[in-house]
Amino acid sequence: MTLVRFLATRLATLAFVLLAVSFLTYALFVLLPADPAQLACGRPCTPERLETARAFMGLDKSVVEQWWDFLRGVFAGRTFGSANATLTCPSPCLGYSFVRNAPVTELIVGRFPVTASIAVGAAVLWLVVGVGAGAVAAVRRGTALDRGLMIAAITGVSAPSYLVGLLGILLFGFTLDMVPVAGYVPFATSPVDWAWHLVLPWTVLALLSAAIYTRLTRSQMLEELGSPYVRTARAKGLSERRVVTRHALRNAAVPVVTLFALDLGVLLGGTVITERVFSMPGLGALLMEAVGATDVPLLVGVTVFTAALVVVANLAVDVVHGALDPRVRHGGSSR
């Protein structure tokens, strides 16, 4: 398959998913017995005012119409209101948030760096920790070390992230006064502060996800270590470390990587709880605001954005997957 065709199909996919996601999210608000105009109605709220608000927010139109407007907006941009008092939302317009009185795109662009910082850092951390621990556990299979790592991993999954975050703040933030407890410093402002403020969130998030990676890596490694080619590798007189890393791990990595890209994709869509505990103004927080205020345009915007990230992540999965496993790349040929 040529690169061009590959990309073409991928773009088509992307388009499809975004259409589906955006439509579903719009449709959702037919289901949801809550009225986005409620907030815009003000106090005291009269039925008439509710109507005006609805009309202005375009809620009187049918779902499909609203959805269509949204799609048009993405390319053409949108304007609201009357001639000499207009709210403009330049393309790519992912909708206009009346609650926040700002174009959704603007909001997302403002928030994404925060979430990205949290997500990527944490992801790297847990990948290293998780895979490392998993590999060690597999090699030292059945020993105390193995058990220890497993118990640690499980503590990781079963502890609620909110708790871990809070404890982190109490312990490292106040008691030990080692790291700042809250807030986000843009990388541009000061890389050091940036990292410094992110240490806790990274650790907390990593702690939670590292578990599954540890377990998955461990079991995959055990599978691989039992297979004949590992014997061949040993027969060459390779050091055990090389046998484990280059041969067993290389094969064990395939599912891990698959999972990783997906998780990262999702994480980039926002890390609700972590962002809340550490008061990081990321996409997760934004989504929560949107939910709290039934801010449909914002909700749809963030959702679509997240979905896009996920699709890209999956693309990455497939590429990496092919790179890691030739049998997959060659469409599982006759051998």
């Binding site: 039992g226 590798a233 496993d325």
Partner: protein, 561 residues
């Protein structure tokens, strides 16, 4: 005779009273075995399939699974006269020994490779394994060396093979690559476990010459595990015969062939098929072969594998197999035999050409027809190890076709499975085992049992006896003929062992780089071959007699094929 100069050189490996027992196994896989390996000499380990050859070799390299318990002593002699005990040695000791001192060419090449790395990388890794500091080669240097080694091991297209992944190569190509890897660190001793099973005789001869040269020029010691008496006669200095885990006889090759003492050794030698010994076609008449009714038609079949280096594995092949007829398919490794096999089995759609099996055009067949076809075609794959589900017991694997197609209740099924296992000389004890608990030959027999379970109308047998010792092989071949007589199935019999082919095949087709260069009645093709390549093949086939074999070798050296 060559190698004698090294006679009496102090032993490199001294195995004494070695025993190996696996968990859950009542009897030891290896039972108080003793033998020695001397520098500059080739010791052949022959014997029944499942007699403990591989296991004892693995014990030497410390590569047995954790379920194995090892007893006895294995002493590795060092040049300075000292000796290291390997039984219960530390991982570190083994690491230093493996590859550099003792290298391994393992059985079943197809599962021995890491599926996600290229052949080149894996060999290069071996090249650099023990080199450290300044002596460590650069990647480029290592790669060059790899190509060299591959060429030495008789690989015709090193660049492509090095760049290929295991699943893209033929059994023989993988095996030769394995040999190359075994030589890569010019070890003091090579443990070669069935190094030529998947190789056609010409290539086999090449490999044997290579080993011989190493022995003579570098004084390398070789532990040669094989079931092919021809190979033994060709290369070995000393022979150790094993059976049921014990050594039944050990002697120099001359004595052994001249005056075998043990009865089993005698049966073994007696069972060796010799080229030209069976009056071919003699019993072909007996067989219910009705060539006028064709069961399989290949018409202008062409198969090309894509990829960076496209390969034409089958090039406008035309073949016919009549009902009850056995077509022997011989030819050099990588010539496309397995590919054709898969085409007939319906596992591979040819790029062009017509395939008719059992009267059905595979390309046009409806789903139902195709299902019916599958039911009526049996396949013995070249590499049994990889075609057995690692999580299934022998009984499950053999029982699968029954579950799929025969309406049998559990008991009847179990009975049938035992029957089938017994046909291939595997006792009921093996029913509950997993593939990794079997020897190469045992796995192969499981595969055969599975293939014939439903009494197929068409059988594709890809090197079905490559890993079987001659006695079992003889048995399986008999079985084969009996079944054939019973069921009268048409058979595509792929093998590189001309003697075997001669024994079972009515007609023979010779394949070279995807083309049929010659085909006709077995007798004709093997007695007075027309095509030069066929002639080379016949000339290269080793005979189980040291003297004769030596003579042939010199003759062949004179007249290049």
């Amino acid at each position: 005779m060559t190698g004698t100069t090294h006679q009496g050189g102090q032993p490199l490996l001294e195995v004494e009273g070695l025993s190996v027992v696996f968990d859950d196994a009542a009897t030891p896989a290896v039972d108080r075995v003793s033998w020695t390996l001397r520098p500059g000499r080739v010791t052949a380990l022959v014997g029944e399939s499942g007699s403990g050859k591989t296991v004892s070799a693995m014990a030497v390299l410390g590569l047995l699974p954790d379920t194995a318990r090892v007893a006895g002593s294995i002493r590795l002699g060092a040049p300075d006269g000292g000796a290291t005990e390997l039984v219960g040695a530390s991982g570190g000791t083994f690491r230093d020994v493996r590859g550099a001192v003792l290298s391994l060419v393992s059985q079943e090449p197809m599962s021995a490779w890491n599926p996600v790395l290229t052949i080149g990388d894996q060999v290069a890794e071996a090249v650099r394994a023990h080199l450290t500091g300044p002596s460590r080669l650069s990647r480029r240097a290592a790669h060059a060396r790899v190509l060299e080694l591959l060429a030495e091991a008789g690989v015709d297209d090193p660049v492509r093979i090095a760049a290929a992944y295991p699943h893209q190569l033929s059994g023989g190509q993988l095996q030769r690559a394995l040999v190359a890897m075994g030589l890569s660190q010019d070890p003091v001793a090579i443990v070669a476990d069935e190094p030529t099973t998947a190789l056609d005789v010409t290539v086999q001869a090449g490999i044997l010459d290579l080993l011989r040269r190493l022995r003579d020029e570098r004084g390398t010691a070789v532990l040669l595990i094989t079931h092919d008496m021809g190979v033994v006669a060709d290369l070995a200095d000393d022979v150790v015969v094993m059976r049921e885990g014990r050594v039944v006889e050990a002697a120099s090759v001359g004595e052994l062939f001249a005056a075998p003492r043990d009865t089993y050794t005698r049966t073994l030698l007696a069972a060796v098929p010799r080229l030209g010994e069976t009056a071919a076609g003699a019993d072909a008449a007996v067989r219910p072969s009705r060539p006028e009714e064709t069961a399989v038609v290949l018409d202008g079949v062409t198969v090309t594998y894509g990829g960076r280096h496209p390969v034409v594995a089958a090039d406008d092949v035309r073949l016919e197999i009549g009902r009850g007829e056995v077509l022997g398919l011989v030819g050099e490794s990588g010539s496309g035999k397995s590919t054709l096999g898969q085409v007939v089995a319906g596992l591979l759609r040819p790029g062009s050409g017509r395939v008719v099996v059992d009267g059905v055009d595979v390309a046009r067949a409806s789903r139902r027809e195709r299902a019916a076809l599958r039911r009526s075609t049996g396949v013995v794959f070249q590499d049994p190890a990889s075609t057995l589900n690692p999580r299934w017991t022998v009984a499950q694997s053999v029982g699968e076709p029954l579950r799929l197609h025969a309406a049998l209740d559990a008991r009847a099924q179990e009975a049938r499975v035992r029957e089938l296992l017994d046909l291939v000389r595997l006792g009921p004890g093996y029913a509950g085992r997993y593939p990794h608990e079997l020897s190469g030959g045992q796995r192969q027999r499981v595969a055969i049992a599975r293939a014939v379970a439903l009494g197929p109308a068409v059988l594709v047998a890809d090197e079905p006896t490559s890993a079987l010792d001659v006695s079992v092989q003889a048995h399986v071949l008999d079985l084969f003929r009996d079944l054939q007589a019973e069921l009268g199935f048409a058979c595509l019999f792929v093998s590189h062992d001309l003697a075997v082919v001669e024994r079972v095949a009515d007609r023979v087709a010779v394949l070279r780089s995807g083309r049929v260069v010659e085909s006709g009645p077995t007798a004709r093709v093997l007695r007075e071959p027309a095509d030069p390549y066929t002639r080379a093949l016949v000339a290269a086939a080793p005979v189980p007699d040291p003297e004769a074999q030596a003579a042939r070798r010199t003759a062949r050296a004179g007249a290049p094929a």
